[in-house]
Amino acid sequence: MEIPYTVTARPDTGLWNAKIGVWLFLASEVMLFGGLFSSYIFLRLGADYFWPIHELNVKMGCFNTAVLIGSSVTIVMAWAGVKMRNYKMYFWNLLITILCAFLFLSVKFFEYKAKIEHYGVVLKDGTILLGHQPEEGYRYKFNADAVTLNFKEADPAYFMRYATKAFAEHGGAHDEHGGAATPTLPIEGVKFKTEDGKVTTLATNDFLSLKAAAKEAKKDSVKLTPVEPIGFNVQLLPQRLASHSDKTLAFLDGTVVEGKMVSDKMELHVDVIDTRAAPDADKSMAWAIMKDAGWKHAFDEAREEHLKKFKESHPGDDPMKSDHYLREALRFEIHGETPAAHEANHKQGLGFFHDMPWAEHHYPTVQIEAKDIQRWSNFLPKWNTYYAIYFTITGLHGAHVLAGALVMLYFLVFNSRWFKTDPEHLANRVETGGLFWHFVDLVWIFLFPLLYLL
C-alpha cells in the first residue's frame, strides 16, 4: 500500500505529488516575500530620513549575486545530469551548488559583522556621525551613593554585573582604570548597609533573606548604601537603561542607583560626517566635535568639486533637489586620521579594495558629549527602518539559503544511491530542490538592487 504518484505524473494533472507541493509552497513563498517587499515599499515611501543608497558593500553583494547565479546554473545542470544518466555531471554540480550556498552565507556573515561593528550617532541638530567605537564600547561611568531595590522584579545578578570600584572624580572617558574594560567586582565582595544598619551583600542567599525581611515588614523595596565606595560601569550596548540623569541610574529590573555620573562621553572613530539632515551643513555641530578645522575645509573642497560636476552634467537643475548630489556632496567620507592624511589618500586614490573587511583604516577619534547626542546605535535593525528591513529580508533569505543547502546535502548524501536504482525519483528530488533554489536566487535578484543599489 503506497501513496500513488510519488514518482510518475498523474495523467490528468500531468504532475507528481511533490511537484504540486513545491509549487504550492512557492506560491505561498511569493506571498511571504511579497509581504516583505510591500513592507519595504511602505517603509520607503514613509521614510522621514535619507534612504541609504550604496551604503552596503556593493562589491560583496555583487559577488554574492554571482555566486547565486552560478549555483542556479549548477543545480539545473545537476538535474540534467540525472536525466542524461551522467553521474559525474550530477554529483559535481550538486556539490558545487551546496558549496556555493555556504560561500554565500560566509560572505553574508562578514557583511553582517561589518554592520554590527559600525555605529551611527545622530547629533541634536540632525547631523549624523558614523564610525567605530573603541573596544570597550560606549559606557556610562557612575559613582553610587545608594541602591534601591524593588523586590517585585529586582535581579542583583543582572545589575551587579556592572559594579566596579569607584571612579576618580575628575571625569573623562579615561579614568584610573586606564580606559580598558573595567574589572567588575564579584557580587559577594560588595558590602551594603541597610537602613537599620545591617551589613549584607547581594549574593543569592543574602538577597533572599533581604526579600523575606521586606515581605515581613510589608515593604516592597529597600534602600542600601555601599560600605565602600563603588561605581557602575554600564556598557550601553546591549544594556538598556530604564532612565538616567546626572544623579540617578535606573535599571530595567526597577533598581535605582543614586549618586553621580562621572562620565557619559562617547568616543568614536569617525568615518563619515553626514550633514544632509542638519539645517545648515556649514553650522553643523560636527565641526565643533571634530576639533581640527581641517575637516571642515576638506568637506568644503569636496562639496565645491561635486557642485561643479553637477552643474556641468545637469545645467539649470537645482542641486539641492538631487538626492544624488546631496549624497555625494553633503555626506562626507573620511579616509585618514588627519585632514592631511585624508587629502593624501585621496590624491593617491583609495584602491579597489579599500572598503573590504581586510583593508586597514585610520580615522580621527573624537569625544561626543551625551548632551549632544539625540540617539545612537550600531547598524542593526534599531538604527532605522532601512536597516530593519535589510536585516529582516536578508536574514529570512539567508535562512532559506541554509535550508536549501541542507536539503540538497541530504539528497547528495542519502539519495545519490538512487541514481542506479531509481533515477527518475532522484531526478524528481533534484528538480524540487532546484525549483526552491531558483526561487531563492530569484528573490535575491530583486533584493540586490533594492537594498544595495537603488
Binding site: A80, D441, L454
Partner: protein, 110 residues
C-alpha cells in the same frame, strides 16, 4: 513535458548561456545604479526593469516555466495577482491622495 535525455542534453547549452547573460545583466545593474538619470525614480524604474528581466529568465528557463503544466500556471498566476493587489492597495490606502497626485502629475494642479 518532454524530458528525454537527448532533449535535456540540448538544453544544457541554453542553461550556460542564460547563466552568462544573468552575470552580464548583474554588472549592468550595478553600473546603471551609479549613473545619475536626473531623478531617482528613473534609476529605480530602470534598475527594476533589468531585475524583472533577469527573474523572468530564471523563471522561464531554469524553472522550466516556458513549458509547464496549466495547473502550475494557474497557481502562480493567482498568487501573482494577489501580490499585485497587495502592492497596489497597500500603497493606495496608505495615501489616498496618490490617485490625486497621479492626476495632478498628468493634468497639472487646479
Amino acid at each position: 513535458m518532454a524530458n528525454s535525455p537527448e532533449e535535456v542534453a540540448k538544453h544544457v547549452k541554453t542553461y550556460l548561456k542564460v547563466g552568462i547573460a544573468l552575470l552580464f545583466l548583474t554588472a549592468v545593474t550595478v553600473w546603471l545604479s551609479y549613473v545619475d538619470f536626473g531623478t531617482h525614480s528613473r534609476n529605480m524604474t530602470i534598475g527594476l526593469a533589468v531585475a524583472t528581466f533577469k527573474t523572468s529568465l530564471v523563471v522561464l528557463i531554469f524553472m522550466h516555466m516556458n513549458h509547464e503544466r496549466p495547473l502550475i500556471y494557474k497557481f502562480m498566476l493567482f498568487s501573482m495577482l494577489l501580490l499585485g493587489v497587495m502592492f497596489t492597495l497597500f500603497v493606495f490606502v496608505r495615501d489616498d491622495g496618490l490617485l490625486l497626485k497621479g492626476y495632478e502629475a498628468v493634468f497639472g494642479k487646479h
